[in-house]
């Protein structure tokens, strides 16, 4: 028996999922680079919404803060710094269109096959009641301390590398 709250959760989840799919389609099909960026924002925002519905509030907030707030701004910034009128010209020949269609359909079938045949683990116990932030914080600094540090060092290296590449007069 579905409780009304469960219905709300399911409704919310499918709404956000549909929004993400619409955004992804727009992202692929739109021909203006700026519109692509806006559609990508829709996708990322919808995924954050789905996280909220699924009870992962920390993940949702970070998703908005990092992906929408920082990465999308950088992407749009990059688009604005490139020359205007970068609406993509129709350079692809008919052969390319056919090959592209075949490859995408093959990838779609492979991905759909994996998704449809795999067994999804279902949450049997009730969700933990402590704030998610506390659990994540403790986990990051105790159990997963080493991977966390390695990831930090890797990101730091990437950042320094980017600065070295960008600065010509060093």
């Amino acid at each position: 028996m579905l409780l009304p709250t469960d219905l709300l959760v399911a409704g919310g989840f499918y709404t956000f999922a549909a929004l993400a799919i619409v955004g992804a389609l727009g992202l692929v099909l739109s021909r203006k680079v700026f519109h692509n960026a806006l559609f990508l924002t829709v996708v990322l925002g919808a995924v954050a919404g789905a996280y909220v519905v699924l009870g992962a509030d920390f993940l949702a907030a970070v998703q908005i803060l990092v992906y929408v707030g920082a990465i999308m701004v950088l992407i749009i910034f990059g688009i604005m710094l490139t020359p205007q009128n970068v609406d993509l010209p129709d350079i692809a020949g008919p052969g390319q269109a056919v090959a592209g269609t075949v490859v995408s359909i093959a990838i779609f079938i492979a991905a759909a096959g994996v998704l449809a045949t795999s067994v999804w683990p279902r949450l049997t116990s009730t969700p933990i009641d402590v704030p998610t932030t506390q659990t994540i914080g403790l986990g990051l600094l105790t159990t997963y301390g080493l991977p966390f540090e390695i990831a930090s060092v890797l990101l730091l290296l990437a950042m320094i590398g980017a600065i070295v590449v960008a600065r010509e007069d060093v």
């Binding site: 009304p4 700026f34 920390f58 907030a61 803060l65 749009i76 604005m80």
Partner: protein, 356 residues
């Protein structure tokens, strides 16, 4: 400090909670989630209306205060002390035509004001006006506010790009660069009250300041507050950090091509944002709703308007920065200072807890 002379449960101190209970009782006959949904929708409607009214009061206050600081009278013709000037302005803006330029990209052009306004309003769903008095108290409230604070940049960039006007594009780019630069010291500084309170929930942060406000946590408190106000003013594009709309350089920046209600939405968002920054300063450093004798929400508004007054004061006093100075301040002054302050706060907290 929270409950001096004003018990939290009493309806006089917290009329909103009383109203909520009363309405909850009336709606009790409905099946389970419906009363909660109706009450939440009502709370959202109330807060949205309240923000529109607050913005009108802010605009009036800003014009009058800046006028007095500059030895002028300011608007004083419409209503007593010019109080109805904002109403007149609002009606004028509602009646004006929205012009979409020929060069504009129509759908993003009309979407941009909403992208700027909606996150500014969503911030208010987690801001606590009093004990238990917010639409929802997320345990990631601080992160939510930071995320919502970063969203309007997308709207501003969209507005600049979709206008098809070089000044608008320049204004949008300036806004983006500015926001990315000041977001980092902002996050670091907000981490200090979070560290001291041991929680990301705004309600818990206020409750943790029951004994002493975080601004009095010497020596890091005042420095953190100063950095927060600086980054906050920069993020809401107010003078002296209002380069995205510097009229002497790039006409009106990203909203050059907007008119009527579309412009009014940007305007509304900007003031709603400056009020949220004031409210955040109140919550993070001045003990939120805590205070003796008066009801909690009165204290909250008194403190928030006091911080907003300081923002008007700064605007009335300081000249606009040059663009490279703005970036210099963000990356070479604010960022290292914020890092050092955060380190000091951590050390101090460890020493204090060890001493107890």
């Amino acid at each position: 400090m929270t409950d001096l002379g004003c018990p939290a449960g009493s309806p006089i101190c917290n009329p909103f909670l009383y109203i909520r209970q009363f309405l909850g009782g009336i709606l009790g006959f409905l099946p389970d989630p419906l009363p909660t949904i109706i009450l939440t929708v009502l709370a959202i409607a109330m807060i949205t209306t309240l923000i529109a009214l607050i913005v009108m009061s802010q605009v009036w206050a800003e014009r009058r205060v800046v006028a007095f600081m500059q030895g002028r009278l300011g608007p004083n013709r419409v209503g007593p002390a010019g109080l109805l000037q904002s109403v007149a302005d609002a009606i004028k803006l509602l009646a004006k035509e929205i012009i979409i330029p020929y060069q504009a990209d129509r759908i993003p052009f009309m979407l941009a004001p909403l992208l700027v306004l909606v996150p500014s309003l969503m911030v208010w769903s987690v801001i606590p006006w009093g004990p238990g008095l917010s639409v929802t108290d997320l345990n990631v409230g601080v992160l939510f506010i930071l995320g919502m604070g970063a969203l309007p940049t997308i709207g501003i960039l969209t507005a600049g790009w979709a206008s098809g006007n070089k000044y608008s594009v320049l204004g949008g780019m300036r806004a983006a660069a500015q926001l990315i630069s000041y977001e980092i010291p902002m996050v670091l500084v907000i981490a200090i009250p979070v560290l001291l309170a041991g929680s990301l929930s705004l309600g818990s942060i206020v409750e943790a300041q029951n004994g002493a406000w975080f601004v009095f946590w010497l020596p890091v408190g005042p420095i953190a507050l100063l950095l927060f106000l600086m980054a906050g003013i920069a993020e809401v594009n107010r003078s002296p950090f209002d380069l995205p709309e510097a009229e002497s350089e790039i006409v009106a920046g990203f909203h050059t091509e907007y008119s009527g209600m579309a412009f009014a939405l940007f305007f509304l968002a900007e003031y709603a944002n400056s009020f949220s920054v004031s409210a955040m300063a109140t919550i993070l450093f001045f003990g939120g709703w805590g205070g003796p004798f008066l009801p909690p929400f009165v204290w909250f508004f008194l403190k928030t308007y006091a911080v907003f007054f300081v923002m008007i004061w700064i605007r009335g006093t300081l000249p606009r920065l040059r663009y490279d100075q703005l970036m210099y301040v963000a990356w070479k002054v604010a960022l290292p200072l914020a890092l050092v302050t955060l380190g000091f706060a951590a050390i101090e907290l460890t020493l204090r807890t060890a001493a107890v």
